[in-house]
């Protein structure tokens, strides 16, 4: 992946920085320039917001057929997590047996390696989720 393309998203991927609409209060992740609910009204009024990283599993799957980049992780759990602030994210669930993941489970964010551009390339880090402490 092109170096600047990943670097640009680092604050969101490392620290769950999203936005809150200054017009209606809806929280989006990743940050948005235009609120999907308010449209033009919201332009210039979107405030950066750090999300706490706590949420609930909305749905999940156990992936067996993985792309090459995720070969060492398979089979792994991919899930959609609804964060307490309202925004939803897609990522992996770790630190738990795959079979124990359930819809409704509480999770918290962890900092993990997402991949890299081969053995010589830049390493990409970001959020994954583990059972809430």
């Amino acid at each position: 992946m092109a170096v600047p393309r990943f670097w640009r998203e680092v604050s969101s991927r490392y620290n769950l920085i999203g936005t809150k609409c200054g017009s209606c209060g809806t929280v989006d992740f990743p940050p948005r320039v235009v609120c999907p609910k308010c449209g033009r009204r919201s332009v210039g009024r979107m405030q950066k917001l750090k999300l706490a990283g706590k949420g609930t599993v909305v749905s999940f799957t156990i992936i067996h057929d993985a792309p090459e980049a995720f070969e060492l992780m398979k089979p792994y759990v991919l899930a959609i997590v609804e964060l307490d602030e309202g925004a939803r994210v897609t990522s992996q669930i770790i630190d738990v047996e795959n079979e124990q993941v359930k819809i409704g489970m509480r999770v918290e964010s962890a900092f993990r390696k997402l991949g890299s551009e081969g053995e010589a390339g830049v390493i990409h880090y970001g959020y994954k989720f583990r059972p809430e402490m």
Partner: protein
């Protein structure tokens, strides 16, 4: 706006076509459609080509000009346009072609779509397909297209008590239909047991819940309805179309078990055609995965939300019952050259409406529907076709 008719259809075999290049496929489907329409190349005013990802699959962009060129049309200097929208590009190309003819911009238009998926190897092809999801916020985190549809399946099972068996019955039905289709990639029936026991891909979906990544192409010839009878004894009319978009990332959708883009595209198409779901006898819906068909028949309002599983299991969508879904075998059995699917679906509907369905002919076929998706539902296109009596 003028009424538009389909006067010619053509398609290639779908499958792993090692001997055929992307160009070969495009030309073959196009020529068949042109021959079926009984027109000469001089009659063609414009070409629309649906293709999802030639740039990454065969390192080739600008495929609209390329296909026209290799079809012998370069001296005519026709307007050629490539249309892309994830897996919906074929259906989008039909819509563009329809708009061109309906508006009077062009008279006779060839709409084709082709995809060559097998040159890069399966793993790479899957990665390329994943580019129709949200790369930055889904794919980078380990999402795959099967994984995203599997999460929809799991949520559907959670909310509506849809069972694994009900979901799998889609594959069984579509293989039964595909066995009657000489152009289908898979012409063998499969058992429910084999679907349930197939290698796991992304739970709860397994290998037999997924359409294959295939090579293939299909094409239509469109012209104004008022001229159609010069070329065809049995022209088929495009009654109405609807197109809609939605969020790209699955996690941003309003409801994981409903494709709002399908709902809206369907409503728009029915409204344009002044028809209702009850008027449909047959439909080709996007079954890239078994669960997708279950959601589609609900979202197109053939059955109530949450009832897609039982309805399929009970045979309500099989050939011979109240609505025949995916008589071609669907993407599952007929094959899925991703960008070409929308046009291939239209080819099946047109043939059925003409009475050319052979062993899989739907009785009393008057109005047929095609439903095509892009990505995990960020784009949906619905076309309604009707027999011209």
């Amino acid at each position: 706006m003028r009424e538009v008719a389909v006067i010619g259809v053509g398609e290639t075999q779908f499958g792993e076509l090692w001997d055929k290049s992307f160009r070969d496929l495009g030309i073959e489907a196009g020529l068949r459609a042109v021959q079926d329409a009984g027109i000469t190349t001089e009659n063609i005013d414009a070409v629309y080509v649906g293709n999802m990802s030639a740039g990454r699959l065969i390192d080739q962009e600008h495929v609209s000009a390329l296909v026209a060129d290799y079809s012998g049309l370069s001296d005519m200097h026709l307007p050629t346009t490539r249309v892309e929208g994830g897996g919906a590009c074929g259906a989008l190309a039909i819509l563009q072609g329809w708009a061109a003819v309906a508006s009077g911009l062009h008279e006779i238009v060839v709409v084709g779509a082709a995809e060559k998926m097998t040159d890069v190897g399966e793993v790479k092809a899957m990665e390329i397909l994943t580019a129709t999801a949200d790369q930055e916020w889904e794919s980078v985190f380990g999402a795959t297209i099967p994984g995203l549809f599997a999460m929809m399946a799991r949520r559907h099972m959670y909310e509506y008590a849809t069972t694994r068996e009900q979901i799998a019955s889609v594959a069984v039905k579509n293989h039964r239909h595909g066995a009657l289709n000489p152009n289908a990639q898979f012409q063998k029936e499969i058992t429910l047991e084999s679907v349930l026991k197939a290698p796991r891909v992304a739970e709860p979906l397994g290998l037999f819940d997924a359409a294959p990544l295939s090579d293939g192409a299909a094409a239509l010839v469109l012209c104004p309805l008022e001229k159609a009878r010069r070329f065809q004894d049995t022209p088929v009319r495009i009654l109405g179309s609807g197109q809609a978009s939605d969020t790209v990332a699955l996690h941003d959708r309003r409801d994981l078990t409903t494709m709002d883009a399908t709902v809206v595209a369907g409503k728009r198409a029915f409204h344009a055609a002044q028809k209702t779901p009850a008027d449909i006898q047959l439909a080709e819906v996007h079954d890239n995965f078994t669960i997708t068909e279950i959601m589609a028949i609900e979202d197109l309002r053939f059955v109530k939300k949450g009832q897609g599983g039982p309805a399929t299991e009970e045979g309500q969508t099989t050939l011979g019952s109240r609505i025949a879904v995916n008589t071609s075998g669907g993407l599952k059995a007929r094959g899925m050259p991703v960008g070409a699917t929308g046009v291939a679906q239209a080819v099946e509907i047109v043939r059925q409406l003409r009475g050319e369905g052979g062993k899989r002919q739907v009785q009393n076929a008057e109005i047929g529907l095609t439903h095509t998706l892009g990505g995990t539902g960020a784009t949906a296109v619905v076309h309604l076709f009707g027999r011209v009596n």
